[in-house]
Amino acid sequence: MNKEPMARRTAVALAFVVGALVAAAPACGSPMVYTANFVTNIKIGDHTYHNASVTIVFKGDTSDIANVAVGGTLLASGLCPAPAGGGVGYFKYLPKGVVTISARSDGGTITATLLPNQVFVAFDSCNGGIGFGSYVTGNPEPAYPVGFTLGTAMSWSVNNDLTTPGNMSGSAFSCIGYPPNGIGAAQGNNDACTAPDGYPLYSNVGHVYIYQPYTTQGHISNHGGSLNRGTFSIAPNTATDD
Protein backbone atom coordinates (compact mmCIF):
# COMPACT_ATOMS: atom_id res chain seq x y z
CA MET A 1 0.00 0.00 0.00
CA ASN A 2 2.81 2.39 0.71
CA LYS A 3 4.60 1.81 -2.53
CA GLU A 4 3.65 4.09 -5.34
CA PRO A 5 2.84 2.60 -8.69
CA MET A 6 4.49 4.20 -11.67
CA ALA A 7 1.46 6.20 -12.60
CA ARG A 8 1.60 8.01 -9.31
CA ARG A 9 5.32 8.51 -9.43
CA THR A 10 4.85 10.71 -12.41
CA ALA A 11 3.45 13.32 -10.08
CA VAL A 12 6.80 14.17 -8.63
CA ALA A 13 8.80 17.32 -8.48
CA LEU A 14 11.14 17.65 -11.38
CA ALA A 15 12.32 21.06 -10.35
CA PHE A 16 15.94 21.97 -10.03
CA VAL A 17 17.34 18.81 -11.50
CA VAL A 18 19.26 20.46 -14.25
CA GLY A 19 20.93 23.52 -15.41
CA ALA A 20 21.38 27.13 -14.72
CA LEU A 21 18.79 29.16 -12.93
CA VAL A 22 17.77 32.35 -14.64
CA ALA A 23 15.74 35.05 -12.99
CA ALA A 24 12.63 36.40 -14.62
CA ALA A 25 11.46 38.70 -11.91
CA PRO A 26 8.23 40.67 -11.90
CA ALA A 27 8.52 44.43 -12.02
CA CYS A 28 7.51 45.12 -8.42
CA GLY A 29 7.10 43.09 -5.31
CA SER A 30 6.38 43.13 -1.63
CA PRO A 31 8.23 41.83 1.42
CA MET A 32 7.07 38.38 2.44
CA VAL A 33 7.81 35.90 5.21
CA TYR A 34 7.88 32.18 4.44
CA THR A 35 7.76 29.91 7.49
CA ALA A 36 8.00 26.14 7.94
CA ASN A 37 7.17 24.36 11.20
CA PHE A 38 7.89 20.70 11.87
CA VAL A 39 9.44 18.38 14.44
CA THR A 40 12.59 16.41 13.83
CA ASN A 41 16.16 15.75 14.92
CA ILE A 42 18.51 18.64 14.26
CA LYS A 43 22.15 19.31 14.98
CA ILE A 44 23.30 22.88 15.49
CA GLY A 45 26.95 23.37 16.26
CA ASP A 46 28.02 20.39 18.35
CA HIS A 47 24.66 19.66 19.94
CA THR A 48 21.94 17.36 18.61
CA TYR A 49 18.34 18.04 19.58
CA HIS A 50 15.95 15.08 19.35
CA ASN A 51 12.38 15.74 18.29
CA ALA A 52 12.95 19.47 18.43
CA SER A 53 10.32 21.87 17.25
CA VAL A 54 12.01 23.35 14.19
CA THR A 55 11.02 26.64 12.63
CA ILE A 56 12.62 27.91 9.44
CA VAL A 57 11.91 31.52 8.52
CA PHE A 58 12.82 33.04 5.15
CA LYS A 59 12.34 36.79 4.73
CA GLY A 60 12.45 37.87 1.13
CA ASP A 61 10.71 39.97 -1.48
CA THR A 62 8.33 38.72 -4.12
CA SER A 63 10.15 40.80 -6.72
CA ASP A 64 12.95 38.22 -6.52
CA ILE A 65 10.72 35.25 -7.38
CA ALA A 66 12.03 33.73 -10.56
CA ASN A 67 11.10 31.01 -12.99
CA VAL A 68 13.59 28.23 -13.13
CA ALA A 69 15.15 28.21 -16.55
CA VAL A 70 17.67 26.10 -18.37
CA GLY A 71 19.82 27.85 -20.91
CA GLY A 72 17.41 30.74 -21.00
CA THR A 73 14.39 28.53 -21.54
CA LEU A 74 11.81 28.34 -18.80
CA LEU A 75 11.76 24.93 -17.20
CA ALA A 76 8.25 23.62 -17.72
CA SER A 77 7.17 20.21 -16.59
CA GLY A 78 6.17 17.89 -19.33
CA LEU A 79 3.39 16.83 -17.02
CA CYS A 80 1.98 20.33 -16.78
CA PRO A 81 2.44 22.18 -20.03
CA ALA A 82 1.31 25.73 -19.38
CA PRO A 83 -1.37 26.88 -19.19
CA ALA A 84 -3.26 23.60 -18.98
CA GLY A 85 -2.66 20.76 -16.60
CA GLY A 86 -3.68 22.21 -13.27
CA GLY A 87 -0.97 24.83 -12.83
CA VAL A 88 1.11 27.37 -14.59
CA GLY A 89 3.47 24.60 -15.50
CA TYR A 90 6.72 26.22 -14.46
CA PHE A 91 9.02 25.69 -11.53
CA LYS A 92 9.79 28.76 -9.46
CA TYR A 93 12.13 29.74 -6.69
CA LEU A 94 12.99 32.69 -4.48
CA PRO A 95 16.76 32.77 -3.99
CA LYS A 96 17.28 36.02 -2.09
CA GLY A 97 16.42 36.30 1.57
CA VAL A 98 17.47 36.17 5.19
CA VAL A 99 17.07 32.71 6.71
CA THR A 100 16.92 31.64 10.33
CA ILE A 101 16.53 28.13 11.69
CA SER A 102 15.27 27.81 15.27
CA ALA A 103 15.11 24.65 17.34
CA ARG A 104 13.04 24.52 20.52
CA SER A 105 13.85 21.69 22.86
CA ASP A 106 13.68 21.13 26.61
CA GLY A 107 12.16 24.56 27.12
CA GLY A 108 15.00 26.39 25.41
CA THR A 109 15.38 27.79 21.91
CA ILE A 110 18.48 28.17 19.81
CA THR A 111 18.36 30.23 16.64
CA ALA A 112 20.88 29.99 13.82
CA THR A 113 21.10 32.69 11.18
CA LEU A 114 22.32 31.13 7.95
CA LEU A 115 25.10 32.70 5.95
CA PRO A 116 23.75 34.11 2.67
CA ASN A 117 22.98 32.31 -0.57
CA GLN A 118 22.48 28.79 0.76
CA VAL A 119 18.72 28.37 0.93
CA PHE A 120 15.90 29.28 -1.44
CA VAL A 121 12.12 29.01 -1.35
CA ALA A 122 11.23 26.15 -3.70
CA PHE A 123 7.93 25.98 -5.53
CA ASP A 124 6.52 23.33 -7.84
CA SER A 125 3.16 24.50 -9.10
CA CYS A 126 2.83 21.55 -11.42
CA ASN A 127 2.98 18.63 -9.05
CA GLY A 128 2.21 20.53 -5.87
CA GLY A 129 5.32 21.00 -3.77
CA ILE A 130 6.64 23.85 -1.65
CA GLY A 131 9.33 24.42 0.92
CA PHE A 132 12.96 25.36 1.32
CA GLY A 133 15.70 24.08 -0.93
CA SER A 134 19.43 24.55 -0.73
CA TYR A 135 22.75 24.04 -2.48
CA VAL A 136 24.35 21.86 0.18
CA THR A 137 25.58 19.32 -2.38
CA GLY A 138 26.63 21.91 -4.89
CA ASN A 139 23.50 21.22 -6.89
CA PRO A 140 20.04 22.56 -6.12
CA GLU A 141 18.29 20.33 -3.56
CA PRO A 142 14.55 21.16 -3.69
CA ALA A 143 13.57 19.35 -0.46
CA TYR A 144 16.43 20.07 1.92
CA PRO A 145 16.26 21.49 4.56
CA VAL A 146 12.52 20.82 4.14
CA GLY A 147 9.97 20.34 1.40
CA PHE A 148 6.26 19.66 1.66
CA THR A 149 4.00 17.63 -0.58
CA LEU A 150 0.58 16.00 -0.28
CA GLY A 151 -1.88 17.59 2.17
CA THR A 152 -3.14 21.07 1.50
CA ALA A 153 0.45 22.00 0.64
CA MET A 154 -0.08 20.09 -2.60
CA SER A 155 -3.46 21.57 -3.52
CA TRP A 156 -2.40 25.07 -2.45
CA SER A 157 0.76 24.96 -4.54
CA VAL A 158 -1.07 23.90 -7.65
CA ASN A 159 -3.69 26.62 -7.28
CA ASN A 160 -1.59 29.55 -6.01
CA ASP A 161 1.89 31.01 -6.18
CA LEU A 162 4.60 32.36 -3.88
CA THR A 163 3.04 35.84 -3.80
CA THR A 164 -0.21 34.68 -2.20
CA PRO A 165 -0.48 34.63 1.61
CA GLY A 166 -1.72 31.37 3.01
CA ASN A 167 -1.25 28.47 5.41
CA MET A 168 -0.95 24.83 4.47
CA SER A 169 0.05 21.47 5.87
CA GLY A 170 1.69 18.46 4.31
CA SER A 171 4.19 15.65 4.42
CA ALA A 172 7.59 17.01 5.41
CA PHE A 173 10.68 15.73 3.62
CA SER A 174 14.18 16.72 4.73
CA CYS A 175 15.67 14.85 1.85
CA ILE A 176 18.97 15.34 0.07
CA GLY A 177 18.53 13.70 -3.30
CA TYR A 178 14.83 14.38 -3.78
CA PRO A 179 13.08 12.83 -5.58
CA PRO A 180 14.27 9.49 -4.23
CA ASN A 181 12.49 7.58 -7.03
CA GLY A 182 13.54 8.24 -10.58
CA ILE A 183 10.88 9.69 -12.80
CA GLY A 184 10.94 11.52 -16.10
CA ALA A 185 14.08 13.61 -16.42
CA ALA A 186 14.91 13.11 -12.76
CA GLN A 187 17.17 10.13 -12.18
CA GLY A 188 16.14 9.66 -8.59
CA ASN A 189 18.40 8.70 -5.72
CA ASN A 190 18.11 4.90 -5.54
CA ASP A 191 14.86 5.15 -3.58
CA ALA A 192 16.69 6.84 -0.72
CA CYS A 193 17.60 10.19 0.74
CA THR A 194 21.25 10.96 1.34
CA ALA A 195 22.23 11.45 4.99
CA PRO A 196 22.95 15.11 5.68
CA ASP A 197 26.06 14.64 7.82
CA GLY A 198 28.49 15.58 5.07
CA TYR A 199 26.43 18.53 3.87
CA PRO A 200 26.28 21.32 6.44
CA LEU A 201 24.34 24.52 6.26
CA TYR A 202 26.62 27.28 7.55
CA SER A 203 25.35 29.62 10.23
CA ASN A 204 26.51 32.15 12.80
CA VAL A 205 26.42 29.46 15.51
CA GLY A 206 28.03 26.61 13.61
CA HIS A 207 27.00 23.97 11.15
CA VAL A 208 23.35 22.95 10.89
CA TYR A 209 22.13 19.48 9.92
CA ILE A 210 18.48 18.42 9.68
CA TYR A 211 17.63 14.73 9.84
CA GLN A 212 14.69 12.67 8.61
CA PRO A 213 14.32 9.76 11.03
CA TYR A 214 10.67 8.87 10.42
CA THR A 215 10.27 7.25 7.02
CA THR A 216 9.52 3.98 5.37
CA GLN A 217 12.38 1.49 5.54
CA GLY A 218 14.41 0.57 2.49
CA HIS A 219 12.26 2.36 -0.06
CA ILE A 220 11.36 6.02 0.37
CA SER A 221 8.66 6.91 -2.09
CA ASN A 222 8.37 10.43 -3.43
CA HIS A 223 5.10 11.09 -1.65
CA GLY A 224 4.34 8.54 1.04
CA GLY A 225 7.93 7.92 2.09
CA SER A 226 8.07 10.50 4.86
CA LEU A 227 5.97 10.00 7.98
CA ASN A 228 6.70 13.49 9.20
CA ARG A 229 4.14 16.26 8.92
CA GLY A 230 4.38 20.01 9.19
CA THR A 231 3.02 23.37 8.19
CA PHE A 232 4.13 26.06 5.77
CA SER A 233 2.96 29.67 5.79
CA ILE A 234 3.29 32.68 3.54
CA ALA A 235 2.52 36.06 5.09
CA PRO A 236 3.28 39.69 4.35
CA ASN A 237 6.29 40.97 6.22
CA THR A 238 4.92 43.89 8.16
CA ALA A 239 7.85 44.17 10.58
CA THR A 240 9.48 47.56 10.51
CA ASP A 241 12.95 46.32 11.40
CA ASP A 242 13.46 43.99 8.44
Binding site: M1, L79, G151, T152, L227, R229, T238
Partner: protein, 263 residues
Amino acid sequence: MKTRNWTHRLLGSALVLGTIGVQAAPVVYTLQTVGDGKLGSYPFAEALISIVQVSDTSHVVATPSGSGMLFVNKAGYARVTIVQNGKPVVAKFESGQIYVFYDTGKGIAGFGSAISPTYPVALDCSNTVNGTPYTADCQAGNALNNYRDGTLSALFLGSAEFTQQTLALPTSLAQSTLLTGHAHMCAVTYTVGNSANTFEDFGDLGTCVDPAPAAHTLMTDHGGFFLQDMVGGSTVSVGPNGWGGWDTSNVGYLRVSVPEIDD
Protein backbone atom coordinates in the same frame (compact mmCIF):
# COMPACT_ATOMS: atom_id res chain seq x y z
CA MET B 1 25.76 15.19 27.57
CA LYS B 2 22.10 14.93 28.34
CA THR B 3 20.53 11.52 28.68
CA ARG B 4 17.11 10.54 29.79
CA ASN B 5 16.70 9.85 33.49
CA TRP B 6 16.17 6.15 34.17
CA THR B 7 12.86 6.82 35.89
CA HIS B 8 11.50 8.34 32.70
CA ARG B 9 12.61 5.36 30.68
CA LEU B 10 10.65 3.10 32.98
CA LEU B 11 7.42 4.95 32.36
CA GLY B 12 7.10 3.54 28.87
CA SER B 13 7.55 -0.06 29.92
CA ALA B 14 5.87 -0.32 33.27
CA LEU B 15 2.30 0.55 32.39
CA VAL B 16 -0.44 -0.23 34.82
CA LEU B 17 -4.10 0.65 34.72
CA GLY B 18 -4.96 4.00 36.20
CA THR B 19 -2.44 6.73 36.72
CA ILE B 20 0.88 5.66 35.25
CA GLY B 21 3.04 8.65 35.98
CA VAL B 22 4.48 7.61 39.33
CA GLN B 23 7.50 9.78 38.67
CA ALA B 24 6.37 13.28 37.94
CA ALA B 25 7.91 15.28 35.15
CA PRO B 26 6.68 18.39 33.37
CA VAL B 27 5.27 17.73 29.93
CA VAL B 28 4.10 19.93 27.07
CA TYR B 29 1.73 18.63 24.41
CA THR B 30 1.69 20.65 21.18
CA LEU B 31 -0.61 19.93 18.24
CA GLN B 32 -0.17 21.90 15.05
CA THR B 33 -2.31 21.85 11.94
CA VAL B 34 -4.26 24.12 9.60
CA GLY B 35 -8.03 24.49 9.73
CA ASP B 36 -11.24 26.45 9.86
CA GLY B 37 -13.45 27.76 12.66
CA LYS B 38 -14.11 30.70 14.90
CA LEU B 39 -12.54 32.22 18.01
CA GLY B 40 -14.79 34.72 19.73
CA SER B 41 -16.02 37.02 16.97
CA TYR B 42 -13.05 36.15 14.77
CA PRO B 43 -13.78 33.60 12.03
CA PHE B 44 -10.81 31.99 10.36
CA ALA B 45 -10.29 29.84 7.28
CA GLU B 46 -7.24 27.69 6.66
CA ALA B 47 -5.46 29.31 9.58
CA LEU B 48 -2.45 27.96 11.38
CA ILE B 49 -3.71 26.30 14.57
CA SER B 50 -1.54 25.40 17.56
CA ILE B 51 -3.04 23.84 20.65
CA VAL B 52 -0.76 23.53 23.66
CA GLN B 53 -1.42 21.77 26.96
CA VAL B 54 1.06 22.12 29.80
CA SER B 55 0.85 19.40 32.42
CA ASP B 56 2.75 16.75 34.32
CA THR B 57 3.35 13.13 33.39
CA SER B 58 2.02 11.97 36.75
CA HIS B 59 -1.47 12.82 35.51
CA VAL B 60 -1.44 10.46 32.53
CA VAL B 61 -4.16 7.85 32.97
CA ALA B 62 -4.30 4.60 31.00
CA THR B 63 -7.28 2.36 30.32
CA PRO B 64 -7.58 -0.58 27.93
CA SER B 65 -8.66 0.09 24.36
CA GLY B 66 -8.89 -2.90 22.09
CA SER B 67 -5.48 -4.47 21.88
CA GLY B 68 -3.87 -1.27 23.10
CA MET B 69 -4.32 1.46 25.66
CA LEU B 70 -6.11 4.79 25.84
CA PHE B 71 -3.86 7.37 27.45
CA VAL B 72 -5.43 10.59 28.68
CA ASN B 73 -4.05 13.59 30.53
CA LYS B 74 -6.71 16.03 31.74
CA ALA B 75 -4.58 18.08 34.12
CA GLY B 76 -2.83 21.39 33.59
CA TYR B 77 -3.76 24.30 31.41
CA ALA B 78 -4.21 24.74 27.67
CA ARG B 79 -4.17 27.48 25.09
CA VAL B 80 -4.80 27.84 21.38
CA THR B 81 -3.00 30.09 18.93
CA ILE B 82 -4.63 31.02 15.64
CA VAL B 83 -2.45 32.61 12.98
CA GLN B 84 -4.00 34.07 9.86
CA ASN B 85 -2.10 36.32 7.47
CA GLY B 86 0.84 36.24 9.84
CA LYS B 87 -1.11 37.67 12.78
CA PRO B 88 -1.40 35.46 15.87
CA VAL B 89 -4.25 35.45 18.37
CA VAL B 90 -3.70 33.50 21.58
CA ALA B 91 -6.57 32.31 23.75
CA LYS B 92 -6.41 30.40 27.00
CA PHE B 93 -8.96 27.62 27.47
CA GLU B 94 -11.08 27.67 30.58
CA SER B 95 -10.21 24.88 32.95
CA GLY B 96 -11.32 21.41 31.91
CA GLN B 97 -12.34 22.33 28.37
CA ILE B 98 -9.91 20.06 26.50
CA TYR B 99 -7.50 17.23 27.23
CA VAL B 100 -4.83 15.36 25.32
CA PHE B 101 -5.35 11.71 24.37
CA TYR B 102 -3.58 8.89 22.55
CA ASP B 103 -5.50 5.71 21.79
CA THR B 104 -2.95 3.11 20.73
CA GLY B 105 -5.74 0.57 20.24
CA LYS B 106 -7.14 2.71 17.42
CA GLY B 107 -4.01 4.55 16.32
CA ILE B 108 -5.43 8.03 16.90
CA ALA B 109 -4.31 10.97 19.03
CA GLY B 110 -5.21 14.59 19.61
CA PHE B 111 -7.35 16.70 21.88
CA GLY B 112 -10.74 15.66 23.20
CA SER B 113 -13.44 17.42 25.18
CA ALA B 114 -16.84 16.90 26.77
CA ILE B 115 -18.33 17.53 23.33
CA SER B 116 -16.53 14.54 21.82
CA PRO B 117 -13.54 12.47 22.83
CA THR B 118 -11.98 13.31 19.44
CA TYR B 119 -12.95 17.00 19.20
CA PRO B 120 -11.55 19.62 18.64
CA VAL B 121 -8.76 17.75 16.79
CA ALA B 122 -7.88 14.12 16.19
CA LEU B 123 -5.09 12.76 14.03
CA ASP B 124 -5.28 9.72 11.74
CA CYS B 125 -8.97 8.93 12.09
CA SER B 126 -10.59 6.61 9.59
CA ASN B 127 -11.84 8.43 6.50
CA THR B 128 -13.97 5.53 5.42
CA VAL B 129 -17.63 4.79 6.15
CA ASN B 130 -18.30 2.51 3.21
CA GLY B 131 -21.92 1.86 4.10
CA THR B 132 -21.48 1.26 7.80
CA PRO B 133 -23.39 3.31 10.41
CA TYR B 134 -21.77 6.71 10.95
CA THR B 135 -23.20 8.94 13.67
CA ALA B 136 -20.01 10.17 15.29
CA ASP B 137 -16.65 10.88 13.75
CA CYS B 138 -13.40 9.09 14.45
CA GLN B 139 -14.68 5.88 15.97
CA ALA B 140 -11.77 4.05 14.40
CA GLY B 141 -8.28 4.78 13.22
CA ASN B 142 -7.13 5.02 9.64
CA ALA B 143 -4.62 2.19 10.00
CA LEU B 144 -7.43 -0.16 10.97
CA ASN B 145 -8.24 -0.20 7.25
CA ASN B 146 -4.59 -1.00 6.59
CA TYR B 147 -3.95 2.47 5.22
CA ARG B 148 -0.83 4.39 6.14
CA ASP B 149 -0.54 7.99 7.15
CA GLY B 150 2.15 9.26 9.45
CA THR B 151 3.74 7.85 12.56
CA LEU B 152 0.37 7.01 14.13
CA SER B 153 -0.34 4.46 11.39
CA ALA B 154 3.21 3.16 11.59
CA LEU B 155 3.04 2.65 15.35
CA PHE B 156 -0.35 0.96 15.04
CA LEU B 157 0.84 -1.41 12.33
CA GLY B 158 4.30 -1.91 13.82
CA SER B 159 5.63 -3.53 10.69
CA ALA B 160 9.18 -3.65 9.42
CA GLU B 161 8.31 -1.40 6.50
CA PHE B 162 9.07 1.56 8.78
CA THR B 163 12.42 2.67 10.21
CA GLN B 164 13.45 1.49 13.65
CA GLN B 165 13.53 5.10 14.79
CA THR B 166 9.84 5.34 13.90
CA LEU B 167 8.87 2.13 15.64
CA ALA B 168 10.85 3.17 18.72
CA LEU B 169 8.77 6.30 19.27
CA PRO B 170 7.27 6.19 22.79
CA THR B 171 3.51 5.68 23.01
CA SER B 172 2.50 6.59 26.55
CA LEU B 173 2.05 10.40 26.53
CA ALA B 174 4.63 10.37 29.34
CA GLN B 175 7.75 10.45 27.16
CA SER B 176 8.85 12.70 24.34
CA THR B 177 7.44 11.52 21.03
CA LEU B 178 6.00 12.62 17.69
CA LEU B 179 2.57 11.49 16.50
CA THR B 180 1.49 12.48 12.99
CA GLY B 181 -1.41 11.91 10.59
CA HIS B 182 -4.17 13.63 8.70
CA ALA B 183 -6.37 15.89 10.82
CA HIS B 184 -10.06 15.55 11.60
CA MET B 185 -11.65 18.66 13.11
CA CYS B 186 -15.35 17.97 13.46
CA ALA B 187 -17.74 17.92 16.40
CA VAL B 188 -20.29 15.67 14.72
CA THR B 189 -19.76 14.02 11.33
CA TYR B 190 -18.38 14.61 7.87
CA THR B 191 -20.42 14.41 4.71
CA VAL B 192 -20.47 10.92 3.23
CA GLY B 193 -20.21 9.86 -0.37
CA ASN B 194 -17.15 11.79 -1.39
CA SER B 195 -15.70 10.33 -4.56
CA ALA B 196 -12.51 12.38 -4.76
CA ASN B 197 -9.55 10.67 -6.28
CA THR B 198 -6.97 9.34 -3.84
CA PHE B 199 -3.88 7.20 -4.15
CA GLU B 200 -2.50 6.81 -0.65
CA ASP B 201 -5.16 7.70 1.88
CA PHE B 202 -8.54 6.41 0.83
CA GLY B 203 -11.93 7.45 2.20
CA ASP B 204 -15.44 8.52 1.34
CA LEU B 205 -15.78 11.34 3.88
CA GLY B 206 -16.00 14.93 2.64
CA THR B 207 -16.27 18.06 4.80
CA CYS B 208 -17.45 18.53 8.36
CA VAL B 209 -21.17 19.03 8.92
CA ASP B 210 -22.06 20.95 12.04
CA PRO B 211 -25.68 22.12 12.17
CA ALA B 212 -25.23 23.59 15.66
CA PRO B 213 -21.76 25.05 16.08
CA ALA B 214 -22.86 27.09 19.09
CA ALA B 215 -23.44 23.84 20.92
CA HIS B 216 -19.95 22.71 20.07
CA THR B 217 -18.12 25.72 21.38
CA LEU B 218 -15.23 25.44 23.79
CA MET B 219 -14.77 28.31 26.20
CA THR B 220 -11.67 30.52 26.22
CA ASP B 221 -10.70 33.89 27.59
CA HIS B 222 -11.33 35.24 24.07
CA GLY B 223 -14.84 33.83 23.91
CA GLY B 224 -16.12 30.66 22.31
CA PHE B 225 -13.93 28.52 20.09
CA PHE B 226 -14.93 25.89 17.59
CA LEU B 227 -13.37 24.07 14.66
CA GLN B 228 -15.15 22.85 11.54
CA ASP B 229 -13.02 21.25 8.84
CA MET B 230 -14.13 22.69 5.52
CA VAL B 231 -11.49 20.89 3.45
CA GLY B 232 -11.37 17.32 4.70
CA GLY B 233 -11.36 14.95 1.76
CA SER B 234 -13.29 17.27 -0.53
CA THR B 235 -10.50 18.32 -2.89
CA VAL B 236 -11.39 16.56 -6.11
CA SER B 237 -8.22 16.61 -8.14
CA VAL B 238 -5.02 18.61 -8.40
CA GLY B 239 -1.92 18.23 -10.49
CA PRO B 240 -1.34 16.15 -13.59
CA ASN B 241 -2.28 12.86 -11.95
CA GLY B 242 -5.26 14.15 -10.08
CA TRP B 243 -4.34 13.82 -6.44
CA GLY B 244 -7.29 14.60 -4.19
CA GLY B 245 -9.45 13.39 -1.34
CA TRP B 246 -7.68 12.70 1.93
CA ASP B 247 -4.31 12.77 0.19
CA THR B 248 -4.84 16.52 0.05
CA SER B 249 -6.49 17.06 3.42
CA ASN B 250 -4.88 18.99 6.22
CA VAL B 251 -2.46 16.99 8.30
CA GLY B 252 -0.87 17.64 11.63
CA TYR B 253 1.44 16.55 14.39
CA LEU B 254 1.24 16.09 18.13
CA ARG B 255 4.56 16.64 19.83
CA VAL B 256 5.02 15.33 23.35
CA SER B 257 7.91 17.08 25.03
CA VAL B 258 9.30 15.90 28.34
CA PRO B 259 12.51 17.72 29.22
CA GLU B 260 15.59 15.55 29.30
CA ILE B 261 17.30 15.49 32.67
CA ASP B 262 20.99 15.21 33.38
CA ASP B 263 21.88 12.01 35.15
